[in-house]
């Protein structure tokens, strides 16, 4: 909104400060001036940003009132005087059928007017404000909105048939509005009508048929008060937002219509014409009681101190200071049993409660004159139950070389179906930003794939990422009665992101092992299901993926992205991806380090090179070694696995198993180690293995 400093100064003649200081002083009181532009002899133009609750300050007079309060200066009354009226045949007929929706309606008849371009101060101010002039009668209504914020309307009286009726629209009723749009009205719309037809959408926009034209001879000036909710609904329903609707829906001044009507009439009459009859002013007492005559509210200075606290000034905010601020804003104070009773100004419908007055006092007094204090506190500090677990997950992945990323919370329908934890459980958005963002993500994996694809498309061929976030699910029946939110983790890697070789299954499994190892589970194991079982997620390569289970419950799926899915996403290289269901993992306590005693005796290492049939998995071999139950086997590992080549027969593979023997009680004897070695060899041979030379 634009404001002219000189117009403000016209209403408050005594302002001694410069325009720039005036702008700063207003801004510090919440009437924000965002920009000041020099207009030379015409003062300054202020670019304003008025908060939605301060409709009273969305005009020159309202801002002048603020300035008058700040500087303690008198505010000039608006000159609403008019030439005497000639007596009319009868008062112009105005009937309000909906007194709850239209609280007040003023009408004045002007005859023999001359429709012409605006001149004088109206033309000048429009030019400075870059407001497009139309014709004097129309400009008059816009000028009054700029001046005092109250929307008005001028009808071509000769097009009005039989007088004004304010009523609800009839179902299917048509109205062509000033913007040239033919609208079908709703019974919830309030219209200003004549005896035959709707003339205007009340408080929102005027009608085409009764608009002012160069041929207009007689004018009916309307200034009314409409119910905010009704105007707002109509404005939203018809997708038409006007200066008028903006003001009415925020609560206009109930007492303004007679003044606004007079101002509009005055400007039109400057080009000729005369007033017929007295102003018709129909008031709905019930609406008046809710607004201009609403009950006074109680106010206690002690509450000002309790809520606002100490100021830089030792005295704080005194009763006299509070009273002077409130009076300046248009309140009337009188003594009451508990403090004071405050009668509220008609233009400040946002003031309803004692706290509203306290805010006004703080605002005008100046926020920056309050001290900076710190409150004492006797409560205790509570950590989130999973904070430590999340920190462990994040810390582990960062240490492993994965970089944290954040992707969209939304995905397309196809991804939602493919990645949902349970079939059909993805949640749709009612008003999505785009089709590709039509669903709430049921998993973080689609977002991960998108991020990996983005990196690959930008020639970042080595990428290791993870994301911690929320996965959503719900049931579409009963309109998603509830939406479940579960913490989830996605990891993804491609290229040589985790070392010098291409990322492979072992890298992913190693990351999972490290991650799950941070939790105090009794058992962690990895397995997979046959492709035909339907138990594996469809987005994973069935032969190169695994499930991780903690204490028997699935916590993760990971592996190579299914080649078909990689193809669909046009990924140019192999991508490894995994998903961890943190809601399940977080059921485990974080593992507390517990130190095991270190042996003082030397360890003995023995390597066994063995040819094994392909069907023997490492897990099977490992159980066979474990079954030996030799307590001195301190550990063992597959040091090398070889497949193919001339040395290795078809259907077999070579494994180099390194075993470490160690005792906590004594130095091991050679004969003992030889005996255990024979047992290990026995176990390997029991699996069909053959010791290599």
């Amino acid at each position: 909104m634009r404001i002219l400093s000189n117009w403000i100064r016209e209403y408050v003649p005594g302002i001694a400060v410069s325009d720039r200081e005036l702008a700063d002083d207003l801004t510090l009181r919440g009437i924000a001036v965002e920009g000041v532009f020099d207009l030379g002899a015409h003062g300054s133009l202020f670019e304003m940003d008025i908060t939605t609750n301060r409709v009273d300050a969305m005009n020159h007079y309202g801002i002048a009132r603020e300035a008058a309060t700040i500087y303690g200066l008198p505010l000039k009354a608006v000159d609403a005087s008019l030439p005497p009226a000639r007596t009319g045949a009868r008062p112009y007929p105005v009937r309000i059928e909906e007194p709850k929706l239209c609280g007040r309606f003023t009408a004045r008849v002007l005859r023999d007017v001359r429709i012409a371009p605006s001149t004088g101060i109206v033309a000048e101010r429009f030019r400075l404000l870059e407001q497009k002039p139309i014709a004097n009668a129309v400009d008059a209504t816009n000028y009054v909105t700029l001046a005092m914020g109250h929307p008005t309307h001028a009808f071509d009286l000769d097009k009005v048939e039989g007088g004004i009726v304010v009523r609800r629209a009839r179902k299917g009723e048509k109205l062509k509005t000033l913007d040239g749009v033919e609208r079908t009205l709703d019974p919830d719309d309030l219209v200003v009508a004549d005896e035959k037809k709707a003339l205007a959408l009340a408080g929102v926009i005027g009608g085409w048929d009764t608009m002012i034209t160069p041929e207009t001879k007689n004018v009916l000036v309307e200034a009314a008060w409409f119910d905010p909710g009704t105007v707002r609904r109509a404005s939203k329903r018809h997708l038409v937002h006007t200066d008028a609707s903006h003001r009415f829906e925020r609560g206009a001044d109930f007492n303004a219509p007679p003044v606004a009507n007079a101002l509009v009439s005055r400007i039109i009459l400057e080009s000729g014409g005369w007033i017929e009859g007295d102003l018709v002013d129909v008031v709905a007492p019930e609406a008046e009681a809710r607004t201009a005559k609403r009950a006074s509210i109680g106010f206690r200075v002690s509450e000002v101190q309790r809520i606002l606290g100490p100021t830089d000034d030792e005295q704080g905010i005194t009763a006299a200071a509070a009273e002077s601020i409130l009076t300046g804003l248009g309140c009337d104070l009188s003594s009451a049993s508990d403090g004071q009773a405050v009668t509220l100004p008609s233009w400040r419908l946002d003031l309803e409660r004692e706290i509203d007055l306290i805010e006004e006092i703080a605002r005008v007094y100046g926020y920056n004159r309050f001290r900076n204090t710190l409150p004492p506190f006797a409560g205790s500090v509570v950590e989130l139950p999973w904070a430590e677990k999340e920190a462990a997950v994040r810390g582990t992945l960062l240490a492993l070389g994965f970089t944290e990323a954040i992707s969209s919370s939304f995905c397309g329908a196809e991804d939602a179906a493919l990645f949902a934890r349970e079939p059909g459980s993805a949640v749709a958005i009612g008003n999505p930003l785009s089709e590709e963002a039509g669903m709430l993500r049921p998993s973080l994996v689609p977002g991960m794939l998108e991020m990996l694809a983005l990196n690959l498309s930008r020639d970042v061929d080595d990428a290791a990422l993870f994301e911690l976030g929320t996965a959503f699910s719900g049931s579409p029946e009963n309109g998603y009665a509830r939406v479940e939110e579960r913490p989830a983790l996605a990891v993804g890697a491609t290229g040589q992101a985790l070392g010098s070789g291409d990322v492979d299954f072992s890298d992913m499994k190693g990351a999972m092992e490290a991650l799950l190892g941070r939790f105090a589970a009794r058992s962690v194991y990895f397995d997979r299901f046959p492709a035909a079982s339907g138990l594996m997620p469809a987005w994973l390569h069935p032969g190169r993926s695994a499930r991780a289970a903690v204490d028997g419950a699935t916590v993760a799926w990971f592996g190579q992205l299914h080649p078909a899915e990689a193809e669909r996403r046009k990924l140019k290289q192999t991508v490894w991806v995994g998903e961890v269901w943190l809601d399940r993992l977080y059921k485990q306590d974080p593992r507390q380090p517990a130190v095991r005693e270190l042996s003082r005796f030397q360890a003995v290492r023995r390597d066994f090179s063995v040819l094994l049939p392909e069907r023997v998995t490492y897990a099977a071999l490992s159980s066979a070694v474990d079954a030996l139950a030799i307590p001195e086997i301190q550990g063992y590992a597959a040091k090398e696995v070889l497949r193919g080549g001339r040395q290795i027969p078809e259907g077999q593979y070579s494994l180099l198993l390194g075993v470490v023997f160690q005792s906590h009680e004594r130095t091991l004897r050679e004969e003992e180690v030889q005996q255990w070695s024979r047992e290990v060899v026995g176990a390997l041979e029991g699996m069909g293995g053959k010791l290599r030379g």
Partner: protein, 374 residues
């Protein structure tokens, strides 16, 4: 000096022996190799030559002299003579040994020299996301001030996101927060309809409903709005919200708390100033500006030459909000307690701190961007 190069001995007294050995010693110290072994390395051939010259079993000078002198020495002079030879021999050996330790190895090691100006082989570090990093920083400041951490759902009901925060149904204030809604909600009563929370403020209500006063809570979280993406807008962004409720909490406490927090976040020279603003759930409400931490308030590009940057919204908890909470926790009587709330955009702060020009980068997963935070 005789022809065979064996120096003559004047006599067998201690003094005469000392003089003879001093002469031998000075001869040794004039040997280039002996001198060089102390500092710069000599080739192994030169060192071997030196060893043979002095200690060689056949032609070695020490051997020759000791043979000659010992043969001639009377019985009682043999011991002091032998001791002096041993000392001199030990001196030569020690020098040779030190050459083997450094001088000789140095030559070999020199051949193994590498170009240390080549860049190091770096294992890639995982980088924490700038938003998470900033969020931790902000949350940490309030934790140190006695705030507990709270979180809440990203899908909220209309009641928690709007109504209980004093945004009545149909109120224009709702227009300021374009909302993404869950599909299929039309048949439900308005307050039960599900939507993507537009701010973290609903967690204020949820926290107070669970916990009687006093409350001090800091709430980090993700929020969503139906905003088209551009350089500074994203449909997804992050906020940190704070709430402090107790007996006697004042607007001055709000000012002091945020002033302290901003000084911790941006440095102790940062100043704050408060402007009246409007939020339905606080009254009085304020916008907070900090003096520009980049130019110290002189005016620069980052603060658009104004010297100030707007960073926070805050205010005293509106009594109407306590009214909603009282339905479940009667202890929130606005006549007895009071409180303040504040909120800030993590994205904006991170963008400002790290000079990020496009908010979209934060949600792209682009490693070229993210790696800079490792």
């Amino acid at each position: 000096m005789q022809d065979d190069g064996i120096p003559a001995l004047k006599g067998w007294s201690e003094a005469e022996l000392d003089a003879a050995f001093a002469a031998l010693r000075s001869e040794l110290e004039k040997d280039d190799v002996f001198v060089a072994l102390r500092g710069s390395p000599k080739s192994s051939e030169e060192i071997e030559e030196f060893r043979l010259r002095w200690l060689g079993r056949k032609q070695g000078r020490l051997k020759a002299i000791s043979d000659a002198w010992l043969k001639a020495a009377p019985a009682d002079a043999k011991k002091p003579l032998g001791q002096r030879f041993n000392t001199l021999k030990a001196l030569i050996e020690a020098r040779l040994e030190s050459a083997a330790g450094s001088g000789m190895a140095a030559i070999a090691l020199d051949a193994e020299a590498i170009d240390i100006t080549l860049p190091g082989r770096r294992r890639k570090l995982g980088a924490e996301h700038p938003l998470i990093r900033t969020q931790h920083e902000i949350v940490g400041i309030f934790q140190r001030m006695g705030y507990s951490v709270g979180v809440g759902p990203e899908v909220e009901t209309d009641y928690y996101n709007f109504e209980s925060l004093n945004f009545p149904p149909g109120h224009p204030a709702r227009d300021t927060q374009d909302t993404l809604v869950v599909a299929g909600q039309e048949r439900k009563p308005l307050r039960e309809r599900l939507l993507m929370r537009t701010h973290t403020s609903p967690v204020q209500i949820r926290t107070m409903e669970r916990q009687a006063p006093p409350v001090r809570i800091v709430i980090p979280g993700k929020v969503h709005r139906n905003d088209a993406a551009d350089a500074t807008h994203s449909p997804i962004f992050h906020q940190v919200e704070g709430l402090c409720v107790d007996v006697g909490i004042t607007f001055a406490d709000l000012k002091g708390t945020l002033d302290h927090a901003m000084k911790e976040l941006f440095g102790s020279s940062v100043r704050t100033r408060f402007f009246p603003s409007f939020f339905p759930f606080t009254e009085p409400s304020a916008d907070v500006q900090i003096s520009c931490p980049f130019c110290g308030g002189a005016g620069c590009r980052k603060c658009k030459q104004s010297g100030w940057i707007e960073l926070l919204g805050c205010g005293m908890v509106d009594p109407a909000v306590f009214g909603f909470v009282q339905q479940k926790q009667p202890g929130y009587d606005p006549e007895k307690i009071s409180g303040f709330a504040f909120g800030m955009g993590v994205d904006r702060i991170a963008m400002m701190k790290y000079g990020i020009g496009e908010i979209g980068l934060l949600y792209s997963g682009d490693l070229r961007f993210l790696e800079q935070f490792a």
